[in-house]
């Protein structure tokens, strides 16, 4: 069932076109991640859904209710949209303790007394906060504050849970845990969740569906696996993962090469490319391996440096004007090596600055 439907949302701020017709749908029991670089419009889109920003155009439905329809002049204020929003800063009210922070949403819906108490304590217990209910926000750690913020947004069972960079204020270890338990919680509750993030690992790990935004446009959407393994544009290919970008000319229907090197690959560009045209190839660093000798799609390269990263070694390789990064388990001495670059790992795009 579709719980959230966003269609053609347009937003201008000052003279800037922040959102250029964003559309997507999300249904119960799934997490949608809005992923993008800063300035891509992802937070603005979330705030438009919440009703905190007023888009100039578009239509938004939450749980079957039209909350925004610019054509009919409908724009419900945030409090009438039946949403829960978790802020990046958590925004816990400093003058209320944990219990009252969480209970406020129930109070506004006329639920008080024993029933409110039961529901608040139930969700606090679920997130392991039961013993902290009398504390004030400034007496909590960052991780605890974040969980209170999530309780507060969920306790009144909104149709849609919105999260604005929910993990960005946690330290690295807590963040990895939170990815797991937040996803588990949302799936258990079976609600529809939308999260904004600039962290690709977070989006891939937590979401069922990833929307990649660029300059206010959703450039690609799909499951995390599709997004990572089948990018549709150069931007999507380059934004996700750790990559090498190779610049050269199209030397065959499916090959790219430059001075002293040539690789077979797959063309992922949407428009037709002509042989001899300037082109770019994206190669994920983890797809390059060091091999013992020549072969199909093997390149002989020079090891310029070898950096120790703890879990692996990073190799800095070059071949004339071409330079690449790769990873491996062993330290390599400077000098020539052979690298294998599988054909399907070389994604060829046009060279135009469109992306």
């Amino acid at each position: 069932m579709t719980d959230l439907s966003v269609a053609n949302v347009e937003k201008w701020l000052g003279g800037n076109h922040i959102l250029r017709g964003a559309s997507f749908e999300a249904s119960r029991g799934t997490i949608v991640a809005l992923l993008g670089a800063s300035g891509s419009g992802k937070t603005t889109l979330l705030r438009c859904i919440a009703g905190l920003e007023q888009p100039e155009g578009g239509r938004i439905e939450i749980g079957g209710n039209v909350v925004l329809d610019s054509a009919r002049g409908v724009a419900l204020p945030p409090e009438k949209r039946n949403i829960g929003l978790v802020f990046q800063s958590y925004a816990l009210w400093p003058h209320r303790n944990v219990f009252d922070n969480v209970a406020y949403g129930l109070k506004l819906r006329g639920i008080e007394g024993q029933e409110a108490r039961t529901r608040v304590m139930a969700i606090l217990e679920k997130l392991g906060l039961g013993h902290l209910s009398e504390r004030f926000p400034d007496q909590l750690s960052g991780g605890q504050q974040q969980r209170v913020a999530i309780c507060r947004a969920l306790v009144y069972e909104p149709r849609v849970l919105l999260m604005d960079e929910p993990l960005s204020n946690l330290d690295a270890k807590l963040r990895e845990d939170a990815r797991y338990w937040i996803r588990k919680l949302i799936l258990e509750l079976g609600i529809c969740a939308i999260m904004v993030t600039h962290d690709q690992a977070e989006a891939l790990a937590m979401a069922d569906h990833v929307l990649l935004l660029q300059n206010g446009v959703i450039v690609q959407s799909g499951s995390p696996i599709e997004m990572y393994s089948q990018p549709a544009t150069f931007y999507a290919a380059d934004f996700l993962g750790a990559n090498n970008v190779l610049r050269g000319k199209l030397t065959g229907a499916c090959a790219i090469g430059g001075e002293g090197w040539s690789l077979d690959g797959v063309v992922r560009e949407t428009r037709p490319l002509a042989v001899g045209e300037e082109a770019r190839a994206v190669v994920r660093t983890e797809r390059i391996s060091i091999v013992s000798g020549p072969g199909e799609n093997h390149l002989q390269m020079q090891v310029d440096a070898c950096l120790y990263l703890g879990s692996a070694w990073e190799y800095r390789l070059s071949c004339g004007a071409l330079s690449m990064k790769a990873h491996g388990a062993d330290q390599l001495p400077p000098g020539p090596v052979w690298c294998a670059v599988p054909r399907d790992a070389v994604w060829i795009f046009g060279a135009d600055g469109a992306a």
Partner: protein, 567 residues
């Protein structure tokens, strides 16, 4: 990314905003409109024969006294700025950027002149260094001559300038505090002495705040009433405010149209100044935003010689602007005779206070002043809060209108606001019964304190992070509910602080009541103005002393609450 955007337009919050802003426009524009209307009449507006004419303009613009007063006002205002700005900037540098000994307790003391009304200060100077003041007599006794005269334009400028040093200090020091100290440390490391650092690094960085302070004090200079009244009047030096005050006496009949024309002339000077300040403030904020990133204030070391020089300058300033007037009033309030060869110790008395308490009008004045300050102050803060919320995160045209409405009273000296409300309470039938009550004074005081009070409230409101309000909205609370349940509880300490500061403003007010005050609505400050005419110095001294005590108590209360004098 998440710039504060406009929320959905048709909310209950919007209706509230429109209602409050409309009420504000009415309360601010009505007196201004009445003054302008009156200035174009040939007679007082309640006179049946009054009709539109330029007679009053003709009279004022051809009156040489008006032009002299205008010239004197300009010289006074610019002179005041020339004295106050360099001293205030120096004081700010020493107290906020150096390791000056004792700066912690020095700051509240240095602010004292700002919290006293200029009528009290001016009276203090009269009894201390006036022609027969304590210090003047001692000078004559000891050295045989007295090298100064405070009843002169020079004396007025000096005293006005010294008493406005705190106003400069406040703005410049808050700019200096937000200045990261590594900029100064870099200059010291490069070999600059502390005085070079202050001139070459600190001063240029805080220039916008300095210019703002100069514009503000220029405005205050044009509006001053107490100092010219006490110090200028005896030797016939007239400025625009005292011209208005005196013009009734010249004609012997109400000359409202003439007063209105002078008021209009004054507004035409002050309004552009207020506008310039608004522009400067906007620019200086932009300027400050470049620097102030977690300013770490490591004070500059003055060294023994520097400490000695700095302290002699500050001590001299403190003696002249705090010790002299307050000491003079304190002595004067407790003695019944003084002069050459008189030992003050033999003439100590409480008779002046007994007399004040025995005189019904003076006693009522004390009670009324306290009522207005404490209870009126609380109501005024509630009103400022209502206005503040109407403008809070209001990016629309009504928010801009509110900004201008709040600034407008600033262009009006207290005496003119009082006059306009006096007329309004005469003119509007259903208000007439309120004129002889404290309500009329309260309304006028609230307008006088509007821009100051609102600035405090707005600063407090801005401390509430926008997400705290947004999270309340997304949780399901309406805008009004958000204000009631979230915003107001969070800023409660700030409101109490605002109350204490408004209390002080209302305690020291004297000019607003000059026309509004009547039998039963006496207030201490204005009583001093009217007693001045009859020359009852004993009572003035007692009232001035009480006024200082009240202000000190209010200030103590404010500091106790941690009120942010720096805004």
């Amino acid at each position: 990314m998440s710039a504060a955007g406009g929320l959905a337009p048709r909310s209950e919050g919007q209706t509230y905003r429109v209602a409050i802003i409309a009420a504000l426009v009415l309360v601010v524009m009505a007196p201004v409109g009445l003054i302008i209307y009156q200035s174009f009449l040939g007679a007082p507006f309640f006179d049946k024969t009054a009709r539109l004419s330029l007679e009053a303009y003709d009279y004022v613009l051809t009156d040489p006294d008006f032009w002299i007063a205008l010239r004197t006002t300009a010289i006074f205002a610019f002179g005041l700025v020339a004295v106050a700005v360099p001293l205030g900037a120096m004081l700010a540098f020493l107290l906020s950027r150096t390791d000056l000994v004792g700066k912690r307790w020095l700051e509240p003391v240095a602010l004292v002149p700002m919290f006293l009304s200029s009528i009290v200060l001016a009276f203090g100077y009269t009894v201390a260094v006036g022609p027969s003041g304590f210090v003047s007599l001692w000078m004559k006794e000891t050295f045989g001559f007295k090298p100064w005269s405070i009843y002169s334009l020079g004396g007025m400028i000096l005293i006005g300038g010294l008493s406005h040093v705190p106003n400069v200090y406040l703005y410049v020091s808050s700019a200096m505090r937000s200045l990261p100290s590594d900029l100064e440390e870099a200059a010291r490391a490069a070999g600059a002495s502390i005085w070079r650092v202050s001139l070459d690094v600190t001063l240029p960085m805080v220039l916008p705040s300095l210019i703002f302070a100069a514009a503000l004090n220029l405005l205050l200079g044009f509006e001053t009433f107490g100092i010219p009244l006490v110090l200028g009047d005896p030797s016939g030096i007239v400025v625009l405010t005292t011209y208005i005050y005196k013009v009734n006496g010249i004609f012997g009949t109400p000359t409202y149209h003439v007063m209105a024309v002078v008021a209009v002339a004054l507004i035409l000077i002050t309004l552009p100044l207020v506008y310039v300040q608004r522009l400067l403030l906007r620019n200086s904020r932009r300027y400050a935003a470049v620097g102030g990133k977690g300013a770490r204030a490591t004070p500059l070391r003055l060294g023994p010689a520097g400490q000695a020089i700095a302290w002699s300058v500050i001590a001299l300033w403190l003696i002249i602007s705090v010790v002299l007037p307050i000491g003079g009033i304190t002595v004067r309030a407790f003695v019944d005779a003084w002069g050459e060869g008189v030992r003050l110790r033999d003439h100590l008395t409480l008779a002046h206070f007994a007399h004040v308490l025995d005189t019904p009008s003076l006693y009522r004045g004390i009670v009324n002043t306290l009522l207005l300050a404490v209870i009126g102050g609380a109501f005024a803060v509630a009103i400022y809060l209502a206005v503040g919320l109407a403008g809070h995160r209001n990016k629309g045209p009504s928010g801009a209108l509110l900004d201008y409405m709040v600034l407008l009273p600033r262009a009006l000296p207290g005496i003119i606001i009082g006059l306009a409300f006096f007329w309004l309470f005469l003119f509007v039938p259903f208000l007439t019964p309120l004129r002889p009550t404290l309500v009329s004074l309260f309304v006028a005081y609230t307008v006088v304190g509007l821009s100051y009070g609102l600035r405090i409230i707005q600063a407090t409101l801005m401390q509430v992070a926008p997400e705290l309000e947004e999270s309340s909205r997304t949780t399901g609370a309406s805008p009004m509910r958000t204000w009631r349940d979230t915003v107001i509880p969070i800023i409660r300490p700030g409101l109490v602080g605002a109350w204490s500061l408004i209390m002080i403003v209302f305690l020291r007010e004297y000019a607003t009541g000059v026309y509004l005050m009547g039998v039963g609505t006496e207030v201490v400050g204005t009583l001093m103005v009217s007693l001045l005419t009859s020359g009852s110095m004993d009572q003035i001294a007692a009232l001035a002393f009480l006024s200082i005590i009240f202000t000190a108590l209010g200030l103590g209360f404010a500091l106790r609450l941690g009120a942010r004098i720096h805004d």
